[in-house]
Amino acid sequence: MASVSFKDIKKDFGKTKVLHGISLEISDGEFMVLVGPSGCGKSTLLRMLAGLEDISGGTIAIDARVVNDVDSKDRDIAMVFQSYALYPHMTVRDNMGFSLKLRKENPKLIEDRVANAARILNLQNFLERHPRELSGGQRQRVAMGRAIVRDPKVFLFDEPLSNLDAKLRVAMRAEIKALHQRLKTTTVYVTHDQVEAMTMADRIAVMNDGRIEQLGEPLELYDRPVNLFVAQFIGSPAMNVFDGIFKNNAVEALGHMWPVGASAGVNGQTVKYGVRPEHIDIGGGGIAAEVVVIEPMGAETELLLQVGGQSLTVTTHGRASYGPGDKIHISPQAQHAHLFDAASGMRI
């Protein structure tokens, strides 16, 4: 168990700057998720922590010990790769015990640790098999077992679920979360999937273009995104956003007035108005809209609407009795509306 500290981390590959000074404190036992679109630098940051990439500037510390020039093997970390990276020629048992064997640990201790990890991950019956004889989910568990066996200070996960099918991904998500609750090992987890980030993290760092856009607890990011990027990245389906002008505590856009909760807008200011699909009510008076597409999902229904030439998504609970072409009325919930400055994209 350990804390991890990034201080002004920079990374460039030749002339391309990948990270522009990242600072991030991860506390002992925390589950930190780095999330962002591909190419945002999240994996690079993780690989720098793992010691697989050189650090161009700044310092990385594990438990207050600067590890910039420490070899991967001496950082006391364990990593789970997207491709699992299991040794194909070794059995599950040898895969899991490899790191301890390299450290020349006593065979009895290796045996015990591997047995213990296998029990935690339900792999007891597969110890003598080779990776090629396992399913994707089992391989993923072996990769996790290899990490657990070492009892490291920090677990690193690099998109560990991306190679699994949707159903298995949900199951493994829960398994990793349960594992963390049980072992309480500091974890840094990289993903591009915001649902994974929201469901697993203690805190999320949303990254874009080599910078951290926002750092916070999942619901904090959801409720109060600091800028347009975070607003549109977190949440599924994505937030509706369109241009408007702030007037008398409302926003004039698409030929209608859109209500805003307590906010500090200036009359006449050009803004971006944002509202999540689940924060738009249907029915009664309000803004006229036309139904374009209906996506029933059982528990809820997604409606794709047209308002003044702009597409809007609305999620309603239960089922909808509308058809394409129907005219309906919608009213956004004022207290859940988000306002962003049109030029800078920052929250107002």
Binding site: L52, S72, K73, F81, S99
Partner: protein, 278 residues
């Protein structure tokens, strides 16, 4: 129906090609089991097939065969040594170039491959001179070193291609697990490269086994030459013992055939694609 006609066409093409390849081998076999008098009779099968020729070889009962066993031993020794050394050199080089990404590694490999632009026959004389300077002439090592020189560039290239296909995460996982580069080489790289290594080792071994020109130049004593060179001596005489030459040739061809047969799976998988199932 269309499928059958296509198959038939393939078979029709295969038959002459097969005959073309097999007839000379059959010819060798025919000579080998014929007595001296009937060797040139032109019959498709000798009247009295005999294994006398093989007996003569085994007992070294002929002027040209007085050192048969030591010569085949030389061939074997040189081929195995060339195979092993080429393998060691090429595996280390491929690991350094492909996995450790040593600076300038690719340039070294390309320079090595560049030597193939010069025909091996042109290099024979300089090689002879170099071996003379090192005092290695007439030693088995001279031929071993020459063969390693000729085989290594291709071996490095093939192994590098195969190495590139191994997922790089394996090395990274091993590094995090605490393996040094040498341990990664020994415990992860070599086991996964086995098919390609077998293919390349066999390639170098057979290259050395079949070599004539360099053997002829670098080795000159009857007790140091390889069997390939010794076979060449047969036709130096006006009255060559063809039946013995063919019988010895047949014996000489057996080890490569056996090796090919044993490793045929690796030869195809290792040389054509260099693919390793990870």
């Amino acid at each position: 129906m269309k499928k059958y006609s296509k198959d038939a066409l393939l078979v029709l093409m295969a038959i002459p090609i097969l005959l073309w390849t097999l007839i000379p081998i059959y010819h060798i076999f025919l000579f080998a089991i014929s007595s001296k008098d009937s060797a040139f009779s032109g019959a498709l099968w000798p009247d009295k097939p005999t294994f006398r020729n093989f007996e003569t070889i085994a007992l070294q009962h002929h002027f040209y065969l007085h050192h048969f066993w030591i010569q085949i031993w030389n061939s074997l020794w040189i081929a195995v040594a060339a195979g092993v050394i080429t393998l060691a050199v090429a595996a280390c080089a491929a690991f350094a170039i492909s996995r450790l990404k040593v600076k300038g590694g690719r340039t070294v490999m390309n320079l090595a491959l560049f030597t193939y632009f010069i025909p091996a026959a042109f290099l024979a004389i300089p090689m002879y001179k170099a071996m003379g300077m090192y005092g290695l002439l007439n030693s088995r090592w001279s031929l071993v070193l020459a063969m390693v020189t000729l085989a290594a560039p291709y071996a490095i290239w093939v192994l590098k291609q195969a190495s590139d296909k191994l997922p790089f995460e394996l090395d990274e996982a091993a590094r995090i697990d605490g393996a040094t580069p040498l341990q990664i080489f020994r415990l992860v790289y070599i086991p996964l490269m086995t098919p390609s290594l077998v293919a390349i080792g066999t390639y170098a071994l057979l290259l050395a086994w079949n070599e004539y020109l360099y053997g002829y130049l670098l080795l000159s004593h009857e007790r140091t030459i390889t069997l390939a060179v010794a076979l060449g001596h047969f036709i130096a005489a006006d009255d060559s013992p063809w039946e013995l030459l063919m019988a010895t040739g047949l014996v000489y061809a057996l080890p490569p055939a056996a090796i090919y047969y044993a490793f045929r799976r690796y030869m195809v998988a290792g040389l054509t694609s260099g693919a390793v199932k990870a």
